[in-house]
């Protein structure tokens, strides 16, 4: 959270207009609003990624799945006789997302039933998925003109971007799913100790299978948003490298790649950090090719500050310099009494 605040401050100092929000035609505009809107696809994907990572897995196929859902939806709309009807749009979105849900379940099947390592299992779709997307569009970058469809990524509702509502909706639904049912705790249990969970009677297989399906579904929605933004099905660029950003967001948020306990709110903050970072870099006029380096530096700084060892090291330096601190027995008591953080 501190990192996000720091980034926001940095931006505001360099261009005071960063924080300004203007109202035009009853709709809000401004850099902050842009961030909320542009972060939606990443938010959806990162939420799904958090849960998959919690099971000690990973989903590298999300980018490719974005391409697929975009291709499916746009193909349906472009072939339809009434591309401006809400009904058509809903069908297109529904089928697009359903297809990626199936692909997600396929991933889950490979991991949970066949027992293939997640990184390999999802790599299959990562490599082949875009080819599938191109097959669906017949090798073209399908474009459409459809006012309702464009509204998804570009429109406003109650003054705020529609895409933002996608984010909020996903956060709310996944949050409820995970904390109001036992799914969260059982997922953590499976991630922390798969054998013990199995012996305890937890349906680890079913849970892992479903979570990959969920990741696929969310990736599908993200793909719809992306295609709505450019009004085209670009199988090559849709969701390119988004899996890396998603993994990054999860890690920045505090969930461990080793699986087990996870935090959705952490991921949300991680996504906002990455999006703010992108916005900062763009504004600073850094050439696009150099952007990844900047990102990497910021990420390293955040990860170091989160690392226990680095904090211990800094603490020790303070102590050696003569600071009067009562020496505790390795902080055992602090650990023992610490309450678990949830969500």
């Amino acid at each position: 959270m501190g990192a996000l605040v720091a980034l926001v401050l940095l931006n505001t100092i360099s261009r005071p207009s960063f924080l300004s929000i203007t109202v035009k035609n009853g709709q809000l505009y401004g850099s902050l609003i842009d961030i909320l809107r542009d972060s939606a696809p990443l938010m959806l994907v990162a939420l799904g990624m958090t849960l998959v990572i919690a099971t000690r897995g990973i989903d590298l196929s999300v980018g490719a799945l974005m391409a697929i859902s975009g291709s499916v939806a746009l193909t349906i709309v472009s072939r339809s006789s009434s591309p401006n009807r809400i009904g058509t749009i809903l069908v297109a979105i529904g089928i697009g997302v359903f297809i990626t849900l199936l692909f997600g379940l396929w991933n889950g099947f490979l991991v949970a039933v066949v027992g293939i390592q997640p990184i390999i299992a999802t790599l299959v779709l990562m490599l082949g998925g875009r080819g599938i997307a191109f097959l669906i569009t017949g090798g073209f970058i399908t474009t459409i003109t459809s006012t309702p469809y464009a509204q998804l990524a570009q429109g406003h509702l109650l003054g705020l971007p529609v895409a933002f509502f996608f984010s909020v909706g996903a956060i709310a639904i996944v949050g409820v799913l995970v904390r109001k049912t036992a799914l969260g705790v059982l997922t953590e249990s499976v991630g922390i100790n798969p054998s013990a969970s199995r012996l305890a009677g937890v349906r680890s297989r079913g849970i892992i299978w479903s979570l990959y399906g969920l990741s696929g579904l969310l990736a599908g929605l993200a793909g719809i948003l992306y295609s709505s933004n450019i009004m085209a099905a670009d199988a090559n660029n849709a969701g390119l490298n988004i899996e890396l950003d998603a993994i990054l967001a999860v890690v920045l948020g505090g969930t461990s790649l080793a699986g087990g306990k996870f935090t959705l709110s952490g991921t949300v903050i991680g996504v906002l950090i990455i999006q703010t970072l992108t916005s900062t870099i763009t504004f600073l006029g850094v050439p696009p090719a150099v952007t990844p380096v900047f990102k990497a530096i910021v990420v390293i700084i955040v990860c170091l500050s989160q690392s226990k060892r680095v904090r211990q090291y800094l603490g020790r330096i303070r102590r050696i310099r003569g600071a009067k601190r009562p020496i505790r027995l390795s902080g055992l008591e602090t650990e023992v009494l610490a309450e678990r953080k949830t969500v």
Binding site: S189, L199, V336
Partner: protein
């Protein structure tokens, strides 16, 4: 005569503990988990800094800011896991950091020769050029002790050195310890095995709840007195678990579980077994006799090849743990770390896990229900610390085992399978768990109980099954007249046959 004495008048988590260790003495440190034993040792070896009190070594007051300081004061430690480098040779390990150097670098021949001298001093005869990993754990421990000698230690700390050793290896270790004692090394021996403590030590110090109970000469206290001092209450508790043989079992109806011809390739030969309501069936046998394999197949943790399982007269398929839990069979694995505890979840979440797994992910156990169940078991099993939101990893082994027991009991099973439930836990918790098992069986729960401590098996079971080499070799009703030697003889007799 160099008199090594160490005093801790007051340390956090250790409340005003005084401790004295003299050279040429084997001194045992006793106490339950949580008594402060490991804290004391860590303060002594420089792992923890102390808050108040003094440490005096050979008359001079010392402060240890780290383990290197403790080492330079002549204190060496051999841990249970033997922290040596398995990829190096024996000689390299022994002489690590103190190799014989010449003008051109390390003189390996001389180094290995010196290593041999140190090893011989302890009566250990191994080739210094052999890989450390090629030797048994027992030998590796002796090598670790040789290393301590190279560091010229005057105080040697042995932390649970005998947990993984067999009888002859323990003898070898003790011979080495006596040799060191005659060379005026002070030895601090930490162990749960009271027999060994009595065999080898000169002095004993007992800790309880962070306080010093007392220091005694080994001949001063009888076993029961010692245990009373460690537990703070009478041994009567253990004795009060009425000898199980006195209870009769009604075997007229359908048994809870009937197993016929159950086998698994490479794990167990075809075996039959019956368990009735309120009956504790105890399994005796050596390591590798197939007891664990058998119960795992019964529970569905592993698949069987042949055989029939009937629950209350109806044939069932128990091919996964879920099937078993539907039939109200519960299983506590012998490896609680790998297959029992969920270390990063809280005590409450661990206890509720069994119930939650049964209900599925959709129907969450409500907070109110959870609190109630958890509070009930924390109290009845005396789980310490008694706060439900502590992470499982921070509990002692005994309390972790109790939490696991609570997890299974909360699912209201009709048959409870316990594989080594008292392994590696302190005496107090052992007694509590055994008492609980006896109580539950009296109330009608069927229990399969595996333990390598034969006195436990005899104390609790109505029927005893003896296994060897993956088969059942004997089964009999537990009689007052049966004792440990009888079972041992049974195992031995079959072995000779």
């Amino acid at each position: 005569m160099r008199d090594i004495s160490i005093e801790f008048p007051g340390v956090k988590a250790l409340d005003g503990v005084d401790f004295t260790l003299r050279s040429g003495e084997i001194h045992s440190l006793l106490g339950e988990n949580g008594a402060g034993k490991s804290t004391l040792i860590k303060a002594l070896t420089g792992v923890y800094p102390i808050d108040s009190g003094t440490i005096r070594v050979a008359g001079t007051e010392r402060t240890f800011a780290g383990t290197a300081d403790a080492q330079s004061a002549g204190i060496a430690t051999v841990y249970q896991e033997v922290n040596l480098c398995t990829n190096l040779t024996v000689g390299e390990n022994v002489m690590l950091g103190h190799e014989v150097r010449g003008k051109l670098g390390i003189n390996w021949r001389a180094t290995h020769a010196k290593a041999t001298t140190y090893l011989h001093q302890l009566g250990v005869d191994v080739d210094p050029r052999s890989q450390l990993s090629s030797h048994s754990l027992a030998i590796q421990q002796l090598i670790a002790i040789s290393r301590a000698m190279v560091l010229d230690c005057s105080l040697l700390v042995l932390d649970e050195p005998t947990s993984s050793l067999d009888r002859s290896e323990v003898e070898q270790l003790f011979a080495v310890m006596r040799r060191l004692r005659s060379r005026n090394v002070a030895i601090l021996f930490v162990s749960h095995f009271l027999d060994q403590v009595y065999e080898i030590s000169d002095q004993m110090t007992v800790l309880r709840n962070g306080k010093l109970v007392g220091e005694y000469h080994v001949g001063e206290l009888s076993r029961s007195e010692l245990i009373s001092k460690m537990l703070g209450r009478e041994l009567a508790e253990l004795e009060s678990i009425a000898r199980a043989a006195s209870r009769t079992i009604d075997r007229t109806g359908d048994p809870i579980l009937r197993v016929t011809g159950l086998s698994r390739k490479g794990a167990i030969e075809p075996t039959d077994l019956d368990v009735y309501d309120g009956e504790i069936v105890g399994f005796a046998g050596l390591l590798g006799s197939g007891r664990t394999e058998l119960v795992r197949v019964i529970y569905g943790a592993d698949r069987s090849d042949h055989g029939v399982i009937e629950v209350r007269g109806k044939s069932v398929r128990l091919s996964t743990p879920r099937h078993s839990s539907i039939h109200r069979i519960a299983f506590s694995s012998e490896d609680r770390r790998a297959e029992g505890i969920i270390s990063d979840l809280t005590v409450a979440e661990n206890i509720v896990l069994g119930i939650q797994a049964k209900r599925g992910w959709l129907r969450r156990v409500s907070s109110a229900q959870r609190e109630e169940v958890v509070a009930q078991y924390i109290e009845s099993l005396d789980i310490r610390p008694n706060t439900p939101n502590i992470l499982m990893r921070n509990l002692s082994g005994g309390n972790q085992q109790k939490v696991l027991l609570a997890r299974w009991l909360a699912t209201a099973p009709q048959l409870l399978i316990l594989d080594e439930p008292t392994r590696g836990i302190d005496i107090g918790a052992k007694a509590e768990i055994q008492r609980e098992i006896a109580k539950l069986a009296e109330a009608g729960l069927g229990v399969i109980f595996i333990s390598s401590e034969l006195d436990e098996v005899l104390r609790l079971s109505q029927r005893v099954v003896v296994m060897r080499d993956r088969r059942k070799i004997a089964e009999f009703d537990n009689h007052k007249s049966f004792d440990i030697d009888d079972i041992v003889a049974l195992i031995a007799k079959e072995g000779a046959a």
